[in-house]
Symmetry: C2
């Protein structure tokens, strides 16, 4: 079996923790671990990293590598299937199947288990319990889905109605339903015949191909009747359609395994509150937080501030280095609207776009301080990586190495700068920063000049094709 | 007339904006101006800085100078009366009178107008209207107080009961009363015979001396029967007593001028909300703040974050660089208790003590970032000032000059470091930083070492006596 991790999604419903350049799957809420990392860990007791296929966007690959490295994986040979352009889950999953056939050399009888990477499941590896049954059903030609027993009449989820029983612990799917209204959701839950659709699937590649051929011939022929490279190249010709619409709502080969797990799609801050353990005052607290006479609230500080609450209840407070969101609990659907308004605000749209820490192929940088004529950044360069050969018209840069060893090129000179040494890069000189070593290079950059914005950069040469 | 500004108070009721080392009078809430600065500006249309006496603690003198310099005053000859130890307002005011007599050469007939520096009065210079009457009454031998018509039955203030009329617009004081309970406060307000005691006083030095001699002979003889220097030296022998208890509650020479001003002692965040202008949703907003569907709230961000509120009401939110306080409106008396608890928390007591910016005689520094083996500070040195000659055992320092010119001594070498230049100070070398110039010196300090706490410092020589 191969595990297909869908990690290309973007979204800002968990703003200010999620940003457009740092979507929900990468944010770390569970014991310093991200939803993506939890998803990977869910399977690694039974599978090696070689059995994973990561379906994502190019921009996220280095975040995925970094998060995998934090889990102590070697990331030289990760199986990435990169969508050149977002086309939703149906084309993405088909492309993963094609990748498995052509690049991993698996047979058409191989089972793919497809999972989002931004959901919450507890206990973490509970899904493994259902894998023997999953393989059995998939091998019989079923597209297996995983149903969650509803704990309440949620109107934000899709539901699966069960039909006749198949193997013990599984059923044929009678139908999939879209998000219901509240009245209908109550009926569903009380009937006992409906389960939440968890968004995970399993099937053999053979079954998948047959169903695509039957219901999505356009996708089928472009992906399965071409080479992988050609499929990637022509990917943007494909329709933007989810696997649910494309296949699941049409197929008569869907099965469902009801799963006894706590599951949430973590679609809002209220959903986060629901699944997290609470203290005796029904508060969820993370980070440097103190509460006095505070009830039914969630206070999460991911920046470096202390948050103190006194005499409040039913509040959600989320702090990052640059934003504090204070929200009435129960109203977290409104974060979306607010993010839309922020995006229209020229002075503030950058808050939606990115954190103060920005990830690049070579590592990351954090804006520590901006003042009149200066800017201070903390820069981390991964071992073996390098920044582009570049120049600035308006700013000089002072680099102070705090950890590791830097290889610095200034004009035609190249030399090493060691821990606790510094180097000066005058404006208009061509320069490059590299980490030739085996441990991350950490340095403080102090920019001084009359103009200190990101766009004062001329790139001459770039390992990552950004010239 | 001389203006005595009481600026020695400490207090953290406006935590996290006020801290033990940065009390309420210095915090800037009104158009980037502090209560202290507003107090000074209240009189400067009629008085020169030479007519002011600042009663304070030594530690606050450089903050006072800095805030006066921001108002464009020369501060070389400010009249400071420094309490060697806090002994409340009675000894402090007597010492100011002694200073005026001995050091400013005024006559005993001179009128002193005494005012706290951490109150709110609007319109700002409204008190000047009452000065002709004040001088008249003071010259007749009265101790003049200033009553505020109560707007509500406040239980947190003292009240003044008026007696027979004196000059038009003034009365004899029949009695002073302590903070009443609510029932009594309602009676006071509805009677029309009571005014809030605003804590401001005016009197001739002659009157003050006579009343001290009569009711506080101990204070009288130590202060007025010795030289100023001796009075300072023996100051700690004096009782800790307020002018209200010491004189006002005993004297039969008190008069009151009812004043038609908006006044508050700003004793809590709720009091701040009361006096500040509100938007159409009854919100007070300051700093980088956006509110959606937010009512009757006060959101103040003095750090560099964006605060977003959605769907909340009756909330007080106060953000600084290191703390966000979230408080139900109406409960701000509880900030005191919370501050007490924080002080007992070894990990967090520094929040009560100081801001991330700390003020020193030579200027200030701001902790920008602390990481593993490094610390980054933004340092500002005032023109003509210098840090102590010092050494560190565990950290080297990199200084990057961002503005101004630094004079740097390292071991036996002294040299200048200019804007956009840097210098390295290895650990265990004796060094000194000076600003020899005419504009503030701004530099970034990056400390690198195995131990990077403030207490790794050996001082060899210090202009401000801190060796």
């Amino acid at each position: 079996m191969k595990i297909v991790i869908l990690a290309g999604g973007s979204g800002t419903r968990l703003f200010p923790l999620s940003r457009e350049k740092y979507p929900k799957q990468f944010i770390k809420l569970i014991n310093h671990s991200s939803f993506f990392q939890e998803t990977v860990k869910r399977f690694t007791s039974k599978f090696s990293l070689d059995d994973f296929i990561f379906s994502t966007k190019k921009y996220y690959t280095f975040m995925i590598k970094e998060q995998l490295e934090e889990l102590k994986f070697k990331t030289d040979n990760v199986h990435f299937v990169l969508e050149p352009i977002g086309r939703n889950t149906a084309p993405a999953i088909a492309l993963c199947a094609k990748y498995a056939l052509d690049k991993m050399g698996v047979e058409e009888e191989e089972v793919l288990f497809v999972t989002p990477s931004d959901h919450f499941i507890s206990p973490r590896d509970a899904m493994l319990r259902y894998f023997p049954l999953t393989e059995k059903l998939a091998s019989q030609g079923y597209i297996v889905t995983f149903g969650i027993k509803p704990s309440h009449p949620e109107t934000g989820y899709g539901y699966i109605k069960v039909g006749e029983q198949l193997e013990e612990g599984s059923f044929k799917v009678e139908k999939f339903t879209e998000k219901p209204d509240f009245k209908r959701a109550v009926e569903y839950v009380s009937s006992g015949e409906y389960f939440w659709n968890s968004g995970m699937f399993a099937f053999t590649i053979k079954t998948l191909k047959e169903e695509f051929q039957k219901y999505q011939p356009e996708i089928y022929s472009l992906i399965f009747e071409n080479s992988y490279e050609e499929a990637v190249e022509r990917f943007e010709e494909l329709p933007d359609i989810s696997i649910d619409y494309a296949i699941m709502e049409n197929t008569d080969r869907a099965a469902v395994i009801p799963c006894d797990v706590v599951w949430s799609d973590i679609g809002s801050w209220d959903a986060v509150y629901e699944v997290f353990p609470k203290d005796e005052d029904c508060n969820v607290k993370k980070g440097n937080v103190i509460t006095y006479d505070t009830k039914n609230s969630m206070i999460i500080e991911k920046g470096k501030r202390l948050i103190v609450t006194i005499g409040v209840e039913d509040l959600t407070v989320i702090g990052t280095r640059d934003v504090t969101l204070i929200l009435k609990r129960g109203e977290s659907q409104r974060v979306k609207e607010v993010v839309k308004l922020l995006k229209k605000d020229i002075e503030r749209k950058h808050y939606v776009d990115r954190h103060v820490t920005e990830y690049r192929p070579w590592g990351s940088f954090t804006d520590l301080e901006v003042g009149d004529r200066y800017r201070i950044k903390l820069i981390t360069v991964k071992p073996g990586e390098q920044l582009s050969l570049q120049m600035h018209y308006h700013r000089s840069e002072h680099w102070i190495v705090v950890k590791g060893t830097a290889k610095v090129t200034i004009e035609d000179k190249t030399f090493y700068v060691h821990e606790n040494e510094s180097v000066f890069v005058p404006k208009t000189t061509v320069h490059r920063l590299e980490n030739p070593g085996k441990v991350p290079l950490v340095l403080i950059e102090v920019q001084v000049g009359e103009y200190i914005e990101e766009d004062d950069i001329v790139r001459f040469e770039d390992k990552y094709g950004r010239v």
